[in-house]
């Protein structure tokens, strides 16, 4: 868990970068679009719903699901590229 060698490895760096990007999107769609920018975004609309309101009640949830699957996909690639250190646990 906390071995120091992991701190510098390219695998770990790539992992942190990916996490940073995905968590920024996570915050943007919920706290950004759904909350702080809602009054501004509400002048646009998706279907019959004001955009900001829609992000707060549906849009952010859809993005959350996509984010996790994107993460899973890229981590699989990382594991393949750097040689996965995850042996199957007994």
């Amino acid at each position: 868990m906390s071995n120091k060698s992991r701190g510098a490895s390219p695998y770990w760096k790539a992992n942190l970068k990916l996490m940073g990007i995905l968590l920024s999107i996570w915050a943007l769609v919920s706290f950004g679009f759904g909350i702080f920018l809602r009054p501004f975004l509400d002048q646009f609309s998706v279907g019959g719903a004001p955009l900001g309101f829609w992000f707060a009640q549906q849009g952010s949830i859809i993005v959350f699901v996509i984010l996790i699957f994107v993460y899973t996909h890229f981590m699989k690639k990382l594991d393949a590229k750097y040689g996965s250190d995850e042996e199957q646990n007994p």
């Binding site: 868990m1 906390s2 071995n3 120091k4 701190g7 996490m19 995905l22 968590l23 996570w26 919920s30 706290f31 759904g34 909350i35 702080f36 809602r38 009054p39 509400d42 609309s45 998706v46 279907g47 019959g48 719903a49 004001p50 309101f53 829609w54 707060a56 009640q57 549906q58 952010s60 949830i61 859809i62 959350f64 699901v65 984010l67 996790i68 699957f69 993460y71 899973t72 981590m75 699989k76 594991d79 996965s84 995850e86 199957q88 646990n89």
Partner: protein, 525 residues
């Protein structure tokens, strides 16, 4: 009502026999079976089980109603209870799975090389789980009493017996497979009435799209916003809370979700680390199916309620008449009408002229009747509510039982406990926890009702930082972790006891409502 009762007994009987059948088929033979289903659960199936584990009676029964009355303010639950899964998938689940242990205190104790930290974690896990489980057992009792006119007490007892069967015999293995079945039951029960209502209101059978569609020539949401504004209620689309309130509550619910032990342990049950990530994605996808529908249920039912109830004539028999379901549910006191001006017309608006008190749970419970659907659909809702409550209760029971038998006995006090002895201890602990939970369900102490609203706050303040820092910051020390968990849980508990906690969460302040349901149900996921 007797038709509904018959169907309800049929559905409840069928689903309960299914759960017992699964329990007999999936008996746990080892402690690995009992705690983590031998780490053999397929990631997609684990996702489904996690969804049922997570979505409780409150998600099923109360959430759509809260959204219906709170409008935009209700978004905190939608974003908060789903956004936490992103944190869980990116920051916790894969690393905890990689660690390869059975429980959350396992991780805390081993990562910080400290039995003191382990004990603090055990205390937090048990404290959080008990506050949460009381609400679930109560939810079971309420569904029984509402639909079958069985006393709440006996409803809780029936629920206890069922959970006893599959949790004590099967442990995590039994719980996992029953949760998969329970997810199917609850999602089917949730979707069927909504699909019909969406067809009636918006002409599309997909409620998630009907929500942003048109109703009678204008956008449904704009129409609803107009109706609520005209009647003096908080405008549906903008709510009444400040952005900072909304942001803070959302964040607390997100972090709390990621720190709840009964959710975390589900990710110990998959074969590989990569599976833990995948599983979190599937869990959220299955949850999203209900959570994308809930805002639609909220909007549809609020429109239906306003249009059919307001200005209706109570004694009339033509199209201006107050609908039958209104009168049916009046008998349960979930709806109360007080004809203040004696004009025989039901007035539903904000302010002193309002004559209608309505409990928000009506929005899901009465949905099938409002849409004029047959008796079996109403019965389905009862089976779905029970599935939601039982699945969450079982997951919490496992946390409590593993905390006692594994973390307390095996890892600290009786280190030479044999495999057989530990399995027996785990079963005994689960049985004991069921009785305690049942007792709390029947006699809910006042403080639980307050604290459970903040099980999220407690989890967010204790487990989340200790785990995330333990993973990402190698220099986190055991002293730091212990101090962090204790001050987190202490501070949050103190805050809860000095402030009237529940008033800060969006509910339906202008509507009023009877004492039922207890706050316990409303604020657990």
């Amino acid at each position: 009502m007797s038709d509904v009762k018959l169907w309800t007994w049929i559905f409840v009987g069928l689903t309960f026999s299914l759960y017992i059948g699964i329990a007999i088929w999936s008996r746990a033979k080892t402690t690995g079976d009992f705690y983590v289903a031998d780490k053999h659960v397929h990631p997609v199936l684990n996702g489904m089980a996690t969804a049922a584990d997570w979505m409780s009676a409150a998600s099923f029964i109360s959430m759509a109603g809260i959204i219906a009355f709170a409008g935009y303010d209700g978004s905190v639950y939608l974003m908060g209870w789903t956004g936490g899964y992103v944190l869980l998938a990116l920051l916790l689940a894969p690393y905890l799975r990689k660690f390869g242990k059975f429980t959350v205190p396992d991780f805390i104790g081993d990562r910080y090389y400290s039995d003191a930290a382990r004990l603090v974690a055990v205390f937090c896990a048990i404290f959080i789980s008990f506050t949460y489980i009381a609400g679930q057992m109560q939810g079971v009792g309420i569904v029984f009493s509402r639909f079958l006119e069985v006393d709440v007490k006996w409803g809780v007892v029936i629920g206890m017996v069922i959970v006893f069967f599959y949790a004590v015999m099967g442990g995590m293995k039994g719980i996992t497979y029953t949760q998969i079945a329970q997810y199917c039951v609850l999602i089917f029960a949730y979707m069927v009435p909504v699909i019909f209502i969406s067809l009636q209101l918006t002409g599309t059978p997909i409620p998630q799209l009907g929500f942003i569609g048109n109703s009678g020539g204008e956008p449904l949401l704009q129409k609803l916003n107009g109706l609520t504004t005209d009647l003096g209620f908080t405008p549906y689309l903008s709510g009444s809370k400040s952005v900072w309130d909304i942001a803070a509550i959302t964040l607390a619910l997100m972090v709390g979700t990621a720190g709840l032990p009964h959710v975390i342990i589900r990710f110990f049950t998959v074969p590989k680390v990569a599976d833990a990530r995948k599983s979190a994605g599937w869990a959220l996808a299955f949850i999203a199916l209900l959570y994308l529908t809930a805002p639609a249920v909220g909007a549809f039912s609020r429109i239906n309620f306003i249009e059919t109830v307001n200005d209706s004539v109570y004694e009339a028999t033509d199209e201006t008449a107050t609908p039958d379901w209104f009168k049916t549910w009046e008998q349960t006191s979930l709806i109360e009408w007080d004809d203040k001006n004696d004009d025989g017309i039901v007035t539903y608006k904000a302010g002193p002229e309002n004559e209608v008190k309505v409990n928000r749970d009506i929005m899901v419970l009465a949905n099938p009747e409002i849409a004029g659907l047959p008796a079996w659909v109403i019965a389905l809702v009862a089976a779905g509510g029970l599935a939601a409550a039982l699945s969450t209760a079982a997951g919490l029971l496992l946390v409590i039982s593993a905390s006692v038998s594994h973390d307390l006995l095996k890892r600290v006090f009786v280190k030479d406990l044999s495999e057989k002895g530990e399995l027996r201890a785990a079963r005994l602990a689960a049985a004991g926890a069921i009785f305690a939970a049942g007792y709390l369900g029947i006699n809910p102490p006042g403080f639980v009702a307050q604290v459970v609203a903040f099980a999220f706050g407690l989890a967010a303040a204790s487990f989340f930082p200790a785990i995330v820092l333990g993973i990402f910051w190698t220099r986190t020390s055991k002293q730091g972790a212990i101090a962090g968990m204790l001050s987190g849980i202490g501070f949050t508990t103190a805050y809860i006891s000095i402030s009237n906690s529940s008033t800060r969460l969006p509910t339906c302040p202008t509507i009023g409502g009877s004492a039922y349901p207890p706050k316990v149900l409303a604020h657990s996921a």
